[in-house]
Amino acid sequence: MVVHFESDVSGAWNEMFSAPGVARPMYQGLLGDLTSLDMVELGLRAEQLSRTFIDRGVTFAHSGEERPFPLDLVPRIIGALEWDHLSRGIAQRVRALEAFLADVYGAGRIFTDGLMPRSVVTSSPHFCRPAIGVVPPNGVRIAVAGIDLIRDEHGNFCVLEDNIRIPSGVSYVIENRRAMTQTFSSLFSNHRVLPVDSYPAKLLAALVAAAPAKAASPTVVVLSPGVHNAAYFEHVLLARMMGVELVEGRDLVCRANHVYMRTTSGERAVHVIYRRVDDDWLDPLQFRPNSVIGVAGLVNAARAGNVTISNGLGNGVADDKLVYTYVPDFIRYYLGETPMLDNITTYRLEEAEACAEVLAHPEDYVIKPVDGSGGKGIVIGPHASAEELAAIRVAVAASPRNWIAQRPVALSTHPTFVNDKVSPRHIDLRPFAVSDGNDVWVLPGGLTRVALGEGELIVNSSRGGGSKDTWVLSEELVTAPLLTGEVTQAPMDSAPPQQNDEFIGLDEEQQ
């Protein structure tokens, strides 16, 4: 039985096909390779892939249980031209967010200039007052960003959210590629896929660049909350690939505003801490006094300029969903540039008119808590019950600042191997950007998350999601118009989104 690709009837953008059986230009080679296999062989390869993962211990912890994060064997492909646009758009966004953070923890020009109410910041639980006066040596608070993108019904990539606190997932990008090249090496011989294995070196270079100037040969460590953290595997992998120590709070000690690592051969000064511990738990002197995973005195050591905390303290003030609505303004205001990537149309419910509209018609919107994560608290209006709609009305009316509403968007789909069939499943994309103060580098591709349930929308490891190896081609294989604005849509894609269509509900329990 040859490989058969099930058609997509959802009205969402299909990443591989522009019409049934008609592959988009960058997928033509892959389609040829895959259809030369039969279903049995595909099934064997899938099994081989999952064994590779289990052998390598690529897991995430969910409800106290270690599970593999399933890798789908049909890769996602992004063409060179489109990637060029995306990566520049991501870098632009990161530069603007960086400028905003410098302003928030600095002069506050954007408030006095009237572009944004100051209260958006002063009412944010992530506005970190102890971070005032903590100056990053090379000006970088966002060494690592994960910018979540989705592709809408028209093929446009839009930003779903910015993750600039502790974005996770890059280990899957690295491991996915490793597993795919082992299992499916033939696919790579026909494509020029940009490599992803330079990520650890780029990250290390960025961390070294962020070291205090007086540290001649800086020591970098990765600070993990420990083995029970969902992303512990990633902390281990990054530390190993960067060749630096993986530490927990109890391994570090502050003395007179210097930070030392306890080692078997005595104490050693530490200059840069790539921390994977949230602000709240990072320093029990400044934040939760009961934190046992933090390091007492760390914030003042950073304030004294003896250690760099990376990503910076208080970055969360710039990535809540209300601030998200201002990011295109940041790009114009701080950079004087036109935003290259669009936001999803989003309404601020603290604005009376928008609030009234959403209270009147909650069934027409996706309503999200500005500070939510893990898909928690999201109400997808068109799918919600009368009780859910009534409840969300009350919640929004009580504290509009805590909610935003978005236009429902159908996520694009991608052929995915599920239950011995290749069927369309919804996907998103989290590219990772690394900033060293001179340049924002975007890892080619990123993490494509896929919802494995049919019609399922939550593309999240904790909700049974999987991922795909994500290829950025180094050159276009076929000369073809850019995807965006492509007009040769066949019925499959041209059907308008159905009322009962799926909507965005992507989120991660942790950044």
């Binding site: 209260s119 005032i132 002197l285 006094p289 007492a296």
Partner: protein, 281 residues
């Protein structure tokens, strides 16, 4: 009473542990600010055991002294010693209720208008003062609120603890300056009047004698904004006087606690806080 006082303040905090403490990390907010109402002539903070001190100015403009003690120690002493000249503040600002209601004003003052955990006042108590909104001159309403709080909560030393909230003090009907300040903050903010917590010292005698050293106290009062930040001491039912020495400001006690720290070891069995104030001139 004299227009200006020259005072020396000694603020001593000590901990004597039941055994030994180590890995102690602390921040002291015990250094008075130089302000239009007070000129600091000299100020010094000492810590025993002797350790390096690191100072900085925090988000709210308060002088902070941070230090850590890694070695085992049986006791910890922190002493702040200041010579200062102090004057009463004038009642300033002529904003009206409609000024307070503008979008720009509310935005700018946001963090002094939101309730905090410690300063949250129950709805039934808020309802008692709600009719005063838009009714009368702002400074007068502040005086009414201050008197109202004193009518609800009797000043009783030791009635509450450092972690008590406005709600707890109201239920008890008793509290200390910290509680009375938190309740006043909650009420003023509910009326749309920006208000902040002030930490400092009070020279307790109305008629201070030169050369006499008396036991003072760590004190808390309120500043509200009606065009300028203006002090009012609801515990004593007075406006800011030359006897009020200001150390720090914040949204509530949590932003200005005189000494906060964490350490490994047994609990403190004694020590305590002493504030001595001497009028020099």
């Amino acid at each position: 009473m004299t227009d200006e006082l020259r005072l020396h303040i000694r603020h001593h905090t000590g901990f004597i542990y039941e055994g030994f403490a180590k890995s102690s990390y602390n921040e002291a907010r015990m250094t008075p600010l130089s302000l239009p109402t007070q000129d600091v002539e000299q100020t010094k903070l000492t810590v025993r055991p002797a350790v390096p001190l690191f100072t900085y100015t925090d988000y709210f403009g308060t002088h902070v002294t941070a230090f850590d003690i890694g070695e085992v120690h049986g006791q910890l002493e922190v002493e702040s010693s200041t010579t200062i000249r102090s004057r009463a503040a004038a009642i300033e600002g002529d904003l009206t209720w409609s000024d307070l209601a503008t979008v720009g004003f509310i935005d700018r003052m946001n963090e002094y208008l939101l309730p905090t955990r410690r300063s949250t006042v129950p709805a039934d108590v808020l309802a008692d003062v709600a009719p005063w909104r838009n009714n009368g001159e702002l400074h007068d309403v502040v005086d009414h609120v201050s008197a109202f709080v004193r009518s609800r909560v009797k000043y009783v030393p030791g009635a509450t603890t450092v972690t008590s909230t406005a709600i707890e003090a109201l239920e008890r009907g008793q509290g200390v300056c910290q509680d009375i300040t938190h309740i006043t903050l909650g009420l003023l903010r509910s009326l749309g009047i920006p208000a902040r917590y002030v930490s400092g010292y009070l020279y307790p005698k109305r008629d201070p004698q030169i050369g006499e050293t008396i036991q003072g106290q760590s004190h808390a009062w309120v500043e509200y904004f009606a065009g300028a930040w203006t002090g009012i001491d609801p515990t004593n039912g007075v406006r800011h006087t030359a006897r009020h020495i200001l150390v720090g400001r914040g949204r509530d006690y949590g932003d200005v606690s005189p000494l906060k720290g964490i350490y490994h070891g047994p609990k403190s069995k004694g020590g305590g806080v002493v504030v001595e104030i001497t009028r020099l001139a």
